[in-house]
Amino acid sequence: MSNLPTELKYAKSHEWARDEGDGTITVGITDHAQDQLGDLVFVDLPEEGDSVDAGTDCAVVESVKAASDIYTPASGEIVAVNTALADSPELVNASAFGDGWLFKVKMSDPSELDNLLDADGYQAVAAAEEH
């Protein structure tokens, strides 16, 4: 976990959020999360236009080991989803912080981002799980 991007915000439930500066965030799962899940075989994403509440499940990632709910870190409207994942779920394994992003949310309350962890805070959470 040495290469945890410091510009991102993190949720305890292993999602990351990147503030795009235009009122939207991009959401994905962390490299630690994809590593724990193993090879992904299916990603179920929300629909564009869906409205979502912070902390509620709005996507599912499935590996051969387990299916995991993905919780949106902030409330708002889904404005984009990563359609490439339909055919290539392995992008999440290969590039959790990059091409493997899941969806973008137009935030209704940007202050919700303050509830998230920074890289150090998340690192501690992930390390505690691994003990």
């Binding site: 090879d39 075989v41 051969v64 080991k65 387990a66 392995e90």
Partner: protein
């Protein structure tokens, strides 16, 4: 090779299939198919050989030790099959009138009564055709109960994080939101977290006790009190009933509704994924909502209870009355064991599990809950091996196949990393348990001396390590004519 690939045009089993087309003319033209079905054209002997070979490639309880945790793969006594296949049972049509079915109905009534006694519930319906359908029926009854009282604000079902995945699925199927309750360090439910989650929105809680962690929840009395106080009901998932058979009754623990997996605890065959039977039992307050049909004894005769008798029933779950052949096998099993035999099942299955746990701990394996006595199953975690040797639980499981053992349940429950959930059942003798333990110890040595050997397993079976990722990404499930 698929049986379709053995097909050759015009080949047939002429002693089995009549040459002349029969019966077609009575089917109205619009219902007749216009093309021939794509069935393989093979001889009778080809069919026999094909399926016999397939069955020989399989692991089954009749050929191998099968300690698949939470599945209770115990011996299926041949006597149960023999009696369930008496001509009077086999030839009985499900539409046969009640006065021609008194023997069958008497058996079903007796099974209902036995299950009531075993579980401590007020009434039992046998008709759910699987554990999952029993769960659905159970949660539907919880919903019917709250709705009948006008208590419609109850929107949540609580489910511990150790639960079988079917529990949250059943709750969602019945329109509930699921709230997860965490587990404490010793495997019991976190009662403080439960207290905080309970409220006027709570419809009920779904519990397995003993839980999937292989321990008995010691707080069950307190949990039942808290849930009832909040106006919720308690659902008992009967997956692990084997551990407490004849010892403790879910009804006495405070549960309002239970499903029983007859294909686990009552030893009906289920190695092929079914058919199952998931009878439901309920406390007095849920009795009006039980599914139909049920069997009632009136004087010396028996009859079906239907919607007319039970207007508040949640209704029918399947055609007729569930899997009759499976219910009959369970009935025979229950009668063969009797009351004393039930308790012996719990004692020996628990003894076998604890014996294996202690021996494996002595050999250096890490128990997930070392301070707890195991129930009929237990968990070891191979997280140390996975980290130190790079050999994980799946590798151990595959290597066990080489040694002639079906693997235990792997990576479930999700709470315990790199886990094996081991359930020996009461059927196995000490020699078999020792041989399995020896195999695990040998694999541990191999993992240290030659990790690639374990990672590449199985080596001795007709099918080697499968590419499960590719299989899931590129689904290939159905044979199509002309496809190679």
């Amino acid at each position: 090779m698929l049986i379709q690939e053995q097909s050759r045009e015009g080949r047939r089993a002429s002693s089995q299939a009549p040459l002349q087309q029969v019966g077609q003319l009575s089917i109205p033209a619009r219902f007749r198919r216009r093309s021939q079905p794509a069935l393989p054209e093979v001889s009778e002997m080809q069919v026999v050989r094909h399926y016999t070979r397939l069955s020989q490639k399989n692991f089954s309880i009749d050929t191998h030790f099968y300690p698949l945790g939470s599945c209770t793969m115990k011996y299926n006594p041949r006597g149960c099959n023999t009696l369930a296949m008496l001509p009077g049972f086999l030839g009985r049509h499900p539409e046969a009138p009640e006065n021609h079915s008194q023997g069958f109905l008497a058996c079903m009534h007796d099974l209902q009564e036995s299950l009531k006694e075993i579980t401590g519930m007020r009434a039992v319906c046998l008709s759910p055709a699987a554990g999952s359908q029993g769960e659905f029926a159970g949660v539907a009854m919880i919903r019917a109960y709250h709705d009948a009282r006008g208590d419609t604000a109850r929107s949540e079902i609580l489910v511990p994080d150790a639960a079988h995945g079917t529990n949250p699925a059943s709750a969602v199927m019945c329109g509930y939101k699921v709230r997860e309750i965490p587990t404490g360090p010793e495997g019991d439910i976190d009662v403080d977290a439960l207290r905080q989650a309970l409220g006027p929105q709570t419809a009920g809680i779904m519990l397995t006790n003993p839980s999937t962690l292989g321990v008995f929840d010691r707080c069950i009395g307190e949990i039942a009190g808290l849930v009832h106080e909040a106006g919720g009901l308690l659902y008992y998932d009967g997956a692990n009933l084997n551990a407490i058979l004849g010892k403790v009754r879910p009804g006495d623990m405070g549960f309002d509704v239970i499903h029983i997996n007859l294909h686990k605890t009552f030893s009906t065959p289920h190695g092929g994924g079914g058919p199952g039977a998931g009878p439901v039992g309920v406390s007095a307050r849920l009795e009006p909502y039980l599914p139909v049909p049920m069997v009632q004894k009136e004087g010396d005769s028996y009859r079906w209870l239907t919607e007319q008798d039970r207007p508040d029933s949640i209704g029918r779950l399947s055609a007729f009355a569930g899997n009759a052949g499976i219910l009959l096998r369970a009935f025979v099993y229950a009668r063969m064991l009797g009351r004393d035999g039930m308790a012996r099942v719990a004692e020996y299955s628990t003894l076998n599990a604890n014996y294996m746990l202690k021996k494996l701990q002595k050999a250096g394996f890490e128990a997930a809950y070392p301070n707890r006595r195991a129930t009929h199953e237990f968990i070891i975690t191979l997280r140390r091996e996975a980290r130190a040797l790079g050999v994980n639980t799946m590798d151990y499981a595959k290597r066990l196949l080489d040694y002639g053992f079906h693997a235990p349940t792997t990576y479930f429950p999700l709470l315990v990393p790199e886990c094996l959930l081991i359930e020996p059942t009461e059927s196995e003798d000490k020699d078999t348990l020792d041989a399995f333990i020896e195999a695990l110890i040998t694999i541990e040595e191999e993992a240290e001396s030659d990790p690639e050997l374990v990672k590449g397993a199985p080596h001795t079976l007709p099918v080697k390590r499968l590419d499960d990722v590719r299989a899931a990404r590129e689904l290939d499930l159905a044979w199509k004519p002309g496809a190679e």
